[in-house]
Symmetry: C2
Subunit: 506 residues, 2 copies
Amino acid sequence: MLQFQVVNVSIEPKDTIIISHSANKELFAEARFNIVFKQKEERIGHIVKVDGLLEENQIGISSWFMKKLGVRKGSEVILVPQSKSVSNSYSLIKQKMTQPGYSYGKADIDEIINEITREILTPIESSVFVTSMHYQNWSVNEIEYLTRAMANSGEKINWDNGIIFDKHSLGGVPGNKVSLLIVPIIAAAGLMIPKTSSRAITSPSGTADTMEALGADIEFTIDEIVEIVHKTKGLIAWTGGLNMVPADERIIRDVQFPLGLDPEPLMIASVLSKKVAMGVKFLVLDIPTGIGTKVTNMETGRRLAHKFAELGQALGIRIESGITYGSSPVGHAIGPSLEAKEALSALIDPLHASDSLIGKTTSLAGILLEMSGKALRGTGQDFAYDILTSGKAYRKFQEILEAQNGNPNIKPEDIEVGTEIYDYLAPQNGYIVELNNKVLARASRAAGAPMDKRAGIHFLRKKDSIKRGEVIFRVYASNEKRLDAAVAELVKGHPVTIEGMLLARE
Amino acid sequence: MLQFQVVNVSIEPKDTIIISHSANKELFAEARFNIVFKQKEERIGHIVKVDGLLEENQIGISSWFMKKLGVRKGSEVILVPQSKSVSNSYSLIKQKMTQPGYSYGKADIDEIINEITREILTPIESSVFVTSMHYQNWSVNEIEYLTRAMANSGEKINWDNGIIFDKHSLGGVPGNKVSLLIVPIIAAAGLMIPKTSSRAITSPSGTADTMEALGADIEFTIDEIVEIVHKTKGLIAWTGGLNMVPADERIIRDVQFPLGLDPEPLMIASVLSKKVAMGVKFLVLDIPTGIGTKVTNMETGRRLAHKFAELGQALGIRIESGITYGSSPVGHAIGPSLEAKEALSALIDPLHASDSLIGKTTSLAGILLEMSGKALRGTGQDFAYDILTSGKAYRKFQEILEAQNGNPNIKPEDIEVGTEIYDYLAPQNGYIVELNNKVLARASRAAGAPMDKRAGIHFLRKKDSIKRGEVIFRVYASNEKRLDAAVAELVKGHPVTIEGMLLARE
């Protein structure tokens, strides 16, 4: 039993304490303690052992947890080792682990997600949950429970019977700025499409990052989102600060991102829980398929499309998927500012925009227009193309920019990019046959994207016949160190393959 | 990019930094950073975000890590977010996860264990490794690599051709003090048996805890262990401080203990790596089997025994197993001091000791004596019994006690136990048919064992006919609060079943 004096510190997560590790060397095997104050015993979520910041007899506790315990600065508390998990739901996770064929019930999943949201499950416990998903069978029912529990973990938007449309991409393709064109097209057709997204986690730019590079605000309250959408029909915002689906944010932050794990049941629930919380009724899902994306072949793409449709039915969302070519970047630009320039140019002058950008934009927008009944089956893409080329989409985008406190008259040339540049030259004559998504994404991130909005890659030539020494693409960065890091990634990988090029020399 | 001023603190694990979380709210999605000082870039193992202890522009770094980076107190360092794992071996863990049928090679396992030992793999990464083992097939080769890599992670003992015997129990049975009798029996027969063990992690007392309750030292350097064993042949010590198999200590501390996971390949490697590091050549393995133990049925017991024998062969250790009755506590006492009293009494006066203690002791010791050639097949148990009842084992134990700085003339009545007591009474007449290991272990731990040596449970009657109101066992604790906690565990479970007793009333 160890007695400590309370010091107030702020720690994340909240029910964590910090203690001096030299205070309790003997107890190293005890990973968990209860904290006791005036006969009241509370379980502690995490213990961080740090020396040199606290005296041996001091304990650091957050205000939140001090309030829960009823202690004050200077109070004496006692730590009592415990051997059980703090969590109730961890035993359910172990149950599915040890009993082959065990299916989670609704109450099981609710408890697990509740404890993830409240940060009662520790990161290593959550990691058991996520790792196990890689090996387990999850039924449609179980994924539905997971989706609903995650959607219920935070705020939801109520649209008073307004019908909400949305577009979502499973990701993995750099340069995928199509949402910046699809949102104004759909909104110009009179449909409500509040496109919310997270910032880029592993990619060089997310839709919200690109929108921010245009000078628009992307952080709004739920009331503001509803107000903007009722006015403009369209919106491109970041949901990070809104406490929508906090369970998803926690799992991503504590487990999925650091471990690079994205098991299918969780991936599906993560996407759909956000749609449930946003009140989406019609969704077009972009499933980029090809080398370097998450979905490497058509068969997996089709299977996923059917699974999403099945879950959509259970959740009251109509979902249609477009399996798209994902082996090369979309359009010519990668990175927030470069993508913002390209998207804005395409809205202003779609006839001179890249074919891959316009084709993908209008085909996905077309599916939504057909689902809505605004276009007959088979005519959606043409309708989307008309909205785009007529200038209606651009005018709608200006409205949206203005509603989001941006300058509606911003021009592509107003958007600044990095001053340090590096030109990647064709090593020989020939036809460019392959662009490597992963190498290009890594190089863009090494250059500073997405946090440095001005960093990224711009293609002067893509699939094209090229001569030795001509520039294929240009890397932009804000300083030399970052530029060097990006070049190092390019040297390590093969960003571009030219037909007939030697791929290796052994 | 974030610039910080270095503050020197001591943190566990070593390549961890602590930062103020308000300093980098924007980067919450970045779980990992590189730290840069004078063009030198190092990866950081763990980041702890704490507020209130450091200024926003300060970073807390351990001396070890400061030295590695070449920074001083007050130096300015830069944090650069990275999206890759710090670890090289985590990709191997993911490889076995995603490629069905993938077998780890020796170099794979060496890298993983090396990074666990150096605390480069984070606890959540190690948790993926351990969780996956529950679902994966591990070949004998893979377990052998794991065992050798773990054994190579720290110090080993070299006996100069001395042949080392050992006894190990897979555990799960409270009151299992047989090692305190087996060691002097085997040593009295002239064989070297340096019995080292960890302290109790989840049980009410480990062999080392019980030895310590006898007033003996249990912490020695490797040189001291070798010296004592060359003198007395026997020893009972704790290996915790010796840096033997640190990989095992890390996995237990960071993952297995907090998660309560013990997948078979790791369980086997954990046991055998310690034997390899100790230089053991002959091992008798106690596999307690029954209700409440790890091995719930004979079939699993037999399969495990064969697997251990097979691995022993690969590792150059002869292993024979005794599958023992594990559904009830061994002997009458649970908890360090109570077990120490019982073991000492049994050595002094074996004819009046409990049958379960003497039977288990002599049968396991007999197997070792037969393996050594000191006894013919079928005569080992009798030989062990002779050594015990002749007083040779007790005299040898006195020698060992003295060599370990204890009082060789200590008597059972010299060992103090808790002053707060609670008598558990028979609720009705009848025959005691079942004692619940788990409830008894939980109650003993709630009473304070093993950290409070004087806490535990002592049986006045075990399998016996009993009358309503007679005392079955007595709980000992050092204070009322602990005694209450123990009683609460007894009330929650069924510690004792009496034939004909109502088990539930619905």
